[in-house]
Subunit: 322 residues, 2 copies
């Protein structure tokens, strides 16, 4: 796996993050422990802890606080995955059957709650309230983004501006928080912390754009996820928004008719129409812009392996999928 190569500067720290994560979830109730063992398989890329540790390493020294906070952000992320799978009625996640598919929506809703609860519980073991406050404010924002998305379902006039507000809140805010925490707990000064936040926001936005393109164009083999869900759930993503905005009136009318017809092959037909247009290229262009902003933000970071990894990870978002 290519991404893991960039983790070299923080490989041992990531192991500590995993151990703290497992210890936090070791509880008294067997059925709950079994569910936690299952979702451990979702813990694939560990992207958020890796970014937190790499910004820490780049800005100074990785401390015990970084290890704890790495587990906290992964717990938060896991909670959102488990609830997203309920909302999306998804059957697959990282090639594993989802909790909702295995044990029903009730268990999945409660397991997500359990993970978010443990995230805050673990975070409150640190001496200062700073991280708890920032994580709380971030999860507020993540929920707002997700709720905006739900209330814009079926809104075929969704603007690019609103799309970017949604993905900034639901995805990029948590990535930015990882980079703020990583740099701040390494003792970085405010200008560097602000740059880390900018890096995280931009990486998060680029990542979500590509994730949305893959939902339209990828294969389940490639992504390990159920695909075509965005269109099935009437969620508009960047290539579709661009397509509807730029298509001739007749073509647009045809696309809307397909989206509204409710047929099983709807997502596939739209994917084919959009693929033959410039709209996927446009989405990549936008993602590439955000990657560039992210890499530029790193200019104030001291040179070294950790900074090189942060640069490479931002660029990897595009390379992986093109």
């Amino acid at each position: 796996m290519k991404l893991a190569e960039h983790y070299t500067p923080i490989a041992r720290s990531l192991e500590r993050v995993e151990r703290i994560f497992d210890d936090e979830l070791a509880g008294e109730v067997d059925v709950v422990n079994n569910l936690c063992a299952h979702i451990r398989q979702y813990r694939g890329k560990m992207l958020r802890p890796a970014l937190l540790l790499l910004t820490g390493e780049a800005c100074g020294r990785v401390t015990r606080e970084h290890h704890v906070l790495g587990s906290v952000v992964e717990l938060v992320h896991m909670a959102t995955l488990v609830h997203d799978d309920v909302l999306d009625e998804a059957d697959l996640r990282r090639r594993c059957t989802t909790i909702n598919r295995l044990h029903g929506n009730e268990a999945a809703v409660l397991l997500g709650d359990y993970l978010i609860s443990h995230a805050f519980h673990l975070c409150s073991s640190l001496d200062s309230q700073y991280a708890s406050r920032l994580i709380g404010s971030t999860t507020n924002t993540v929920c707002e983004g997700e709720l905006m998305q739900v209330f814009h379902r079926g809104d075929y006039d969704l603007s690019e501006e609103t799309y970017f507000e949604i993905i900034s809140r639901k995805t990029a805010s948590l990535v930015a928080t990882c980079c703020i925490l990583g740099s701040r707990f390494a003792g970085a000064d405010p200008a560097v912390i602000a740059a880390a936040e900018r890096y995280g926001m931009s990486v998060g936005v680029a990542f979500q754009i590509i994730d949305d393109v893959l939902d339209l164009q990828g294969t389940e083999q490639e992504t390990g996820k159920t695909l075509g869900r965005d269109l099935d759930k009437e969620k508009l993503t960047l290539p579709i928004i661009h397509y509807l905005r730029t298509a001739d009136r007749d073509v647009k009318a045809e696309a809307l008719a397909v989206m509204n017809n409710g047929h099983q092959d709807r997502a596939e037909r739209i994917a084919r129409m959009v693929s033959q247009s410039d709209s996927v290229r446009y989405a990549y262009h936008k993602a590439r812009h955000h990657v560039r902003v992210a890499v530029e933000a790193l200019a104030v970071f001291p040179d070294g392996d950790a900074k090189d990894s942060l640069t490479a990870m931002a660029e990897f978002i595009i390379d992986r999928h093109e």
Copy 2:
């Protein structure tokens, strides 16, 4: 409303709790603010903040921390209500249409997440981590109790012991935490805090027993909730557990046949069978025992209006419904 009379010693503090609650939920996103305005109608009895403030008042002085923590526990409680309504597929809550009925399960899951996130965000505004840590540990326990309940659905051999473990975790643990926080932030000594915890646990257990009896026997008029859900969801509660344990073999077989037949009037038929037995009386007897334990725990509290209210509130649990 009779319960409100016992709130006299803390009436002004409760108003401050409500103001902090509203301020915490005032966000930037309109659709989210509209949802929050709706669930404000659920904020009926404010039982948990009231117990937190009364134990504070009884043990010393109510401080700004008590007001903040009162809002925190109400936010936690609201989150569990919103997610419970998803799990129970309920249509009514405090005579209002539920969020899941109005806006679908997706919005309800996310709104619950938003409320729990705000609870932790608000809690982390306090100087010490103590409350965040205790609230986190309590919500871990609440989720474990709820998950146990889900995994025991359809388990017609559920023991009384497991039933009590479930309700202790899912309901009583949060009530106990309210009383711990109230007494501790008023500077009570460890013996008094331990008594406050015992009071809260016992009140919580008694409250849940009666709530379960009402789901079987109440009217929607009385409770403002969709009824008969426990049986529809194959959740066994104390009167049913007692009934199945004590009934003759033939009667038990008949009851199990009714529960398994899936007919619409299943809950009603079981309610009729159980009402003609001693099992509802048995549940009241158990609830009364826990109320007695709660009142006895208050012996170490200084005499005064707040202590009188705590006593009266424990007794009210039974009187309200018998």
